[in-house]
């Protein structure tokens, strides 16, 4: 998996791994939008650059085994990696694909990921990630989930 430097267009290898206790000191709300300590009872993962282990994004997941579904509870790219002037592109896509991989590993053909978007962003999730709407939620499963994973995970 990789991110792209928006200026140089160079690819940088990343990995998504479980967060460590010591990381909470270096992921303040001012940089990662939420107080991530409050998520410590859920599965929290960090997206880091392989070259220097810099944290570029975070995601917390909630597994609903009976529904074969993983909900993306929280997701945040770091402050400098949000908006039009972001330093690295593909952070959110990689984190969504990672949730998809975890869901596929656990639930196989029934795998599904879901999230609740801001109303103004529904069309963004439909267009960029082929997500479908169901009430307030958006979800991805089947061949669309497979396509998302293949787009972000080539290894």
């Amino acid at each position: 998996m990789y991110v792209i430097n928006s200026e140089t267009r160079k690819q940088h290898a990343i990995e998504i791994i479980p967060i460590e206790k010591s990381d909470y000191r270096i992921i303040p709300k001012s940089k990662f939008w939420f107080d991530w300590k409050q998520e410590s009872s859920f599965e929290v993962y960090k997206l880091v650059l392989k070259e220097n282990q810099e944290i570029l994004g975070l995601v917390s997941l909630n597994r609903f085994g009976k529904e074969s579904r993983i909900k993306i509870r929280l997701l945040a790219a770091s402050k400098e990696n949000r908006g039009k002037n972001k330093k690295y592109d593909r952070i959110t896509g990689n984190l969504l694909a990672f949730a998809g991989i975890e869901s596929i590993k656990a639930y196989g053909a029934m795998a599904c990921i879901s999230l609740i978007p801001k109303t103004a962003l529904i069309s963004h999730y439909e267009e960029k990630y082929s997500m479908l709407q169901a009430g307030k939620s958006m979800f991805l499963e089947g061949m669309a989930l497979l396509a998302l994973i293949n787009e972000y995970d080539h290894e």
Partner: protein, 170 residues
């Protein structure tokens, strides 16, 4: 001005998701939508998703494996694609008996078996995802390594009397 600020915020929120609040009603709407889709899912799509699952489980095992699972993954692979294991044996030109022995650990797979499995899975995964067929060989030899290390602890102790070696000191 307000429009610009709003547009800027929307761009920012593309990289922020907060799904913490979800009512039971939302959950049931989602469950219904999924049921409707799954009812009409083609068999081939189910197979492709299962192959994807198998790939990631095999990769995880290569990274963290601690027990023998080659034949288990082989069974999962065959049963995802075929309803009858004999058909797989036919497709890779071996006898059902040989396949059965490999699957139950009564016979080691020949190199030709592994090579044919690699060719077969390259085709099977072609339209699903990228798949490094070498993973079958890695799985098989990881199992052999684990089995060697487990069974040889006592043997190593027995052989120690035949070995002379010095500890290097600075």
């Amino acid at each position: 001005m307000t429009m610009n600020r709003s547009g800027h915020e929307i761009e920012e929120f593309k990289d922020l998701i907060d799904s913490r609040d979800q009512s039971d009603q939302d959950n049931s709407t989602l469950a219904r939508a999924r049921q409707n889709r799954q009812r009409n899912r083609p068999v081939q799509e189910t197979r492709m998703l299962k192959l994807m699952q198998l790939k990631y489980q095999m990769e995880d095992y290569i990274s963290n494996g601690s027990s023998s699972r080659f034949s288990e993954f082989l069974k999962m692979y065959i049963d995802t694609i075929y309803t009858n294991r004999k058909d797989f044996a036919t497709d890779i030109d071996i006898t059902p008996m040989e396949l059965s022995h490999v699957l139950h650990g009564r016979r080691e797979p020949k190199p030709s078996f592994l090579h044919r499995l690699m060719v077969h899975s390259e085709n099977a995964f072609k339209n699903v995802t990228t798949f490094n067929t070498e993973i079958w060989a890695r799985l098989y030899f990881l199992d052999k390594t684990l089995s060697f290390l487990t069974s040889s602890k006592e043997a190593i102790q027995n052989q120690a009397k035949h070995v002379k070696s010095k500890s290097l000191k600075v």
